[in-house]
């Protein structure tokens, strides 16, 4: 374990686009194309939209967004707790990301379209793993919070 003090102090990230800043604050890492303006989740060298090979800039993704589509998962792989609400979120900066909506009941009669949400980072032990990982969920945006 020859990692830095910082790395040892925090739970590892479950996916490469979930990162921490120097103070240990988690954020979602993205890339904005300086040519076409598309914002991607995660790091990349070339733009998949306009094929630009330069001008791709690392950005911290927006922490709020709006649900574009969803599904309630009643049957997942063995060992995974259900039901849960899987959502595709349009982040306020134009990036699109998948996640789980927490903090509301899973009910197919509910209209989840366009619900405003924010990113909620947590440390959890995934099924089958033996240590906690840094993950994110979405939770409903509270009154007074802006989607920006």
């Amino acid at each position: 374990m020859a990692e830095s003090d910082t790395a040892e102090a925090f739970a590892p990230s479950i996916a490469s686009h979930i990162r921490r800043n120097e103070q240990g604050q988690p954020y979602l890492a993205g890339t904005k194309c300086g040519n076409c303006g598309h914002t991607f989740v995660g790091a990349r060298e070339v733009c998949a939209k306009c094929y630009a090979r330069s001008g791709l800039n690392p950005v911290k993704l927006a922490q709020t967004g709006k649900i574009y589509t969803w599904s309630i998962i009643y049957r997942s792989f063995p060992g995974i707790d259900t039901p849960f609400i899987d959502v595709i979120v349009d982040l306020a900066d134009g990036a699109h990301i998948k996640g789980i909506l927490k903090g509301v009941e899973a009910d197919p009669e509910v209209d989840y379209f366009d619900m405003l949400v924010r990113v909620d980072f947590r440390e959890v032990v995934p099924p089958g793993a033996d240590e906690a990982y840094l993950v994110y969920y979405f939770v409903p945006l509270e009154d007074g919070e802006q989607n920006e």
Binding site: I14, A48, T69, Y74, R75, D86, I88, H96, V135
Partner: protein
Amino acid sequence: MSDDVYVIGIDMIKFGRYPERTVPSLAAEAALMALDDCGLSIDRMQALYCGNLGEAGGMVGQRMLAEIGQTGIPVVNVANACATGATAFRDAWMSVKAEVYDLVLAVGVEQMGKGLLGGGGGRKVSTEGILGSGTMPTMFSQIGLEHTRKYGTTFEQFARVSVKNHHHSTMNPKSMYRIETPLETVMNAEMISYPNTKLMCSVNVDGSAAAVLASEQKVKELGLLDRAVKVRASVMSSNPFEERQLAMPDFSAATRLAAKTAYEKAGLGPEDIDLVELHDCFATAEIVHYENLGLCPDGEAGRMIDDGETALGGSIPVNVSGGLLSKGHPLGATGIANIYEVCTHLRGEAGDRQVEGARVGLTHVVGGGPGMGTACGVHILEKT
């Protein structure tokens, strides 16, 4: 421009569960059936294109030839998600179209377990149930609800697809299931990922299908033009950039691209098509593909299923085989089995489920998954 390419022999085994069999033996059975369909022997085949996903590293084509005749021909083993069979067929078509060969064999085969398909994007620790769900039903449920978002399509309309395809399968002796599933049964079945219940998910089965393809000159030389089916278009696509594709795999853009190209190549339009076998891996998928394939204007797929236009006897019957929902979906075999179904109708040999007067048919498969991308194959076939 080279001659047209024809299907002269084609067949599939009855889809089912054959755990005691091997993948090559399932492939061999369909290959021999396709050869028998045109009265030719394996030693007439100049190349083999073999599609299989589950043993993609296992040289299934060569192992199949070890069972039915080691003639020394070149073998290409292909894997391309649920478009694997169509990819093998198209590779065979291209080899004849390019005049490298004039008589070749394409086979698609799969042996599957039961249960959910999907993945977590290849990460070391699974993100399933943490960063969402990577199951196939989830992907296609979200695509269905995207249609709901745009056009108000209902759970009941999605469910009607399954009622229709299960009904069609009662007339197909090669279907895995042959049972009627009334609307209430479909809607009250176990919910997997809303709005797809268990009866709205395709069936994992074992299966194989095979086709013999020939150049026009060879077909005439063999005197097989009577039952030959002309390939009017053989087209593939991958997923072009779409706004949300990295968050939710997109199968619509690839389908629209392949369909548009196929209609252009064939010099035909959706109005010329008499029947369609499309990729109903989930009931929600069939709805969006009506529009993706141009069978109706955008936003009218729900009305189309309500009005029975895509049922046998309707204006454009879809999945009269029973589709992936009831006939079954052996991944690598599906793309050739769909072509078998259309050829059977064009030959007027489809029995109770025959689409009367069918002259032109279209097949569509699309494959992919979370973090993978999309493979789409569209074929337009015409009676000779």
